[in-house]
């Protein structure tokens, strides 16, 4: 009886959480410009989305491209910078280490709007024209702390003697780094990269303040401008549906794999 109540509660909450997403998905299969007005089944919005056959359609695709490109570049740089930084921080002691970790926490605690406004002021102050470069620098700023936090635990779990052993056995430090240290850090780097990538994909406020006036749009800023104009581009419905599905499948697969790995370890 208790179990029925408990599960009913979970499913009720889930139904509430997913109602808007399901709603968008359902209405992605009809042509009507107004949401909530069902004018019969049609895949036209999907066709439009992929062929660019819509009003302002090319700018929506461009926004998707920008979003992915910015996320990839920022996450790659953040992973590089964050991994090097984590190795450095791991070898620091006492106050210096605490200081670095404190600084590293700041971008994570700051709300997006503070990060956005403060970086906007920085670029104004330094007279840097805002565009792709400033957006990417801003994304690296708020992504790198997550990489540092993902890599640091791998360093402390690692047995330091392995690295020393490689050196004793005649490996050059660069070899020991590549052959011993990096493989140990790889899982942390991968999850740091994935975190950075999704953080960048999700961002709205920081991009909004650092994109300048050259008309650079990511998906978030596109949606924002579009919604403020009043009429939401109908092709956003199939796009959102596709994104929901991709995220859902990725997360379920990832979690099932993780669970299986955890179980096989336990056995």
């Amino acid at each position: 009886m208790k179990k029925v109540f408990a599960q009913a509660y979970l499913y009720l909450l889930l139904a509430m959480l997913y109602a808007p997403l399901v709603f968008i998905a359902v209405f992605s299969f009809t042509e009507s410009r107004v949401l909530g007005n069902w004018t019969g089944f049609s895949p036209k919005l999907y066709v439009n989305l992929f062929t660019g056959g819509m009003n302002g359609g090319s700018s929506l695709l461009a926004a998707v491209e920008n979003t992915l490109l910015i996320a990839l570049v920022s996450a790659a740089f953040a992973t590089l910078l964050g991994t090097i930084a984590a190795i450095g921080i791991h070898n620091l002691k006492g106050r210096k280490r605490a200081g670095m970790q404190f600084l590293n926490n700041i971008p994570m605690i700051n709300p997006d709007i503070i990060t956005g406004v403060s970086l906007f002021l920085l670029f104004v102050f330094l007279h840097i024209t805002q565009g792709y470069l400033t957006v990417i620098l801003a994304h690296i700023t708020f992504c790198t702390p997550y990489v540092v936090l993902s890599v640091l635990p791998k360093l402390s779990q690692m047995n330091p003697n392995i690295y020393e052993a490689a050196l004793d056995l005649g490996a050059r430090p660069s070899q020991a780094l590549r052959k011993v240290l990096l493989p140990e850090l790889r899982p942390g780097m991968v999850s740091g990269f994935l975190l950075a990538f999704t953080m960048s994909l999700d961002d709205f406020a920081v991009t909004f303040f650092t994109r300048g006036t050259i008309g650079l749009d990511t998906l978030s800023t596109y949606i924002y401008t579009d919604a403020r104009k009043g009429g939401l581009t109908p092709e956003l419905r199939p796009l959102m549906t596709i994104i929901f599905l991709i995220v859902l499948v990725l997360l379920v697969v990832f979690n099932l794999r993780q669970n299986r790995a955890a179980k096989s370890k336990a056995n």
Binding site: K3, A6, Q7, Y9, L10, L14, L17, A19, P20, L21, F23, I24, L35, G36, L81, I84, A85, I87, G88, H90, N91, L92, M100, L103, N105, I106, M108, I109, P111, D112, I113, I114, T115, V117, S118, L119, F120, L121, L122, V124, I140, T141, T144, L149, P153, E164, T198, D202, F204, A205, F208, L219, I223, A227, R228, M240, V247, L251, F254, N255
Partner: protein, 256 residues
């Protein structure tokens, strides 16, 4: 390996330029007039402008209400999810976390459109509902996490010593899960105060929150007043993270 400590230097330089200097600039701009002279007028303007003050009060009110509702609805969900008697499915947990990985603007827009279609007038009610939609995963996840890590023998010991299930829950489970609740609060409260696009979508621009007036000032080139407002928000963050301690990092570290 001690020489490797120099590897932290590039990141230190990076952070000084892109984290510390920008925050210093907020303070600098907040205490300057348009010509670069030192002034308190931006800050005093906020405290004498009834519009800004009421927006600020409303933002705090919405943020507190949102955080409380998220705890009230989210804690039971996290508890059920973490309880092996009720839930053994990792997929259900994933379903609760999934919205965290989807662009908040998209989810908010979908919510606002649904409200529109159902015929609700967009206003404070829909704002609060929408905020809860947006932020409840951020409350459930850290609480779930800490409940999963909790050592069951504490609860069993309490039961063996004669505590009723109700007592075990309130005297053992809840106090031990407080760090999770605190990091949930940090992940819900500050983002709610500072949000700007979300409140506009959910209320059809009828209700402005604090983030919106910061954005409006910056976008209309009133940098100094915008910076002063951001400075006030910075102080609130400082105060609330003092209460929250450093638990935030532990909650986010294992997100994936």
């Amino acid at each position: 390996m001690t020489k490797r400590s120099t590897w932290s230097i590039p990141y230190l330089v990076f952070m000084i330029i892109f984290v510390v200097l920008p925050l210093v600039l907020i303070v600098l701009y907040a205490f300057q007039d348009g010509n670069g002279h030192f002034t308190f007028s931006n800050v005093t303007r906020f405290f004498t402008d009834s519009d800004s003050l009421s927006t600020f009060a409303l933002s705090l009110e919405v943020a507190i209400e949102n955080t409380l509702i998220c705890i009230l609805l989210g804690y039971p969900a996290a508890w059920i999810l973490a309880n092996r008697k009720f839930n053994r499915s990792a997929v259900t947990v994933t379903l609760f976390i999934m919205p965290m990985w989807i662009n908040a603007l998209m989810r908010t827009l979908a919510t606002a459109e649904l409200f529109n279609m159902l015929g609700f007038t967009l206003g404070k009610g829909t704002l609060l509902f929408g905020m809860v939609y947006d932020y409840i995963p951020f409350m459930i996840y850290p609480i779930y996490n800490i409940l999963m890590k909790m050592d069951n023998s504490y609860m069993e010991a309490a039961e063996d010593l004669g505590a009723t299930p109700w007592k075990v829950f309130w005297k053992v489970t809840v106090p031990l899960s407080m760090p999770g609740v605190m990091s949930g609060v940090l992940m819900v409260f500050m983002p709610t105060v500072s949000t700007f696009a979300i409140s506009e979508f959910l209320t059809n621009n009828k209700i402005k929150l604090f983030g919106t007036i910061i954005q409006e000032n910056i976008n209309s080139s009133m940098w100094n007043y915008g910076a002063a407002l951001a400075f006030i928000m910075l102080i609130i963050i400082g105060v609330s993270s003092l209460f929250g301690g450093e638990r935030e990092s532990s909650a986010e570290g294992g997100l994936i």
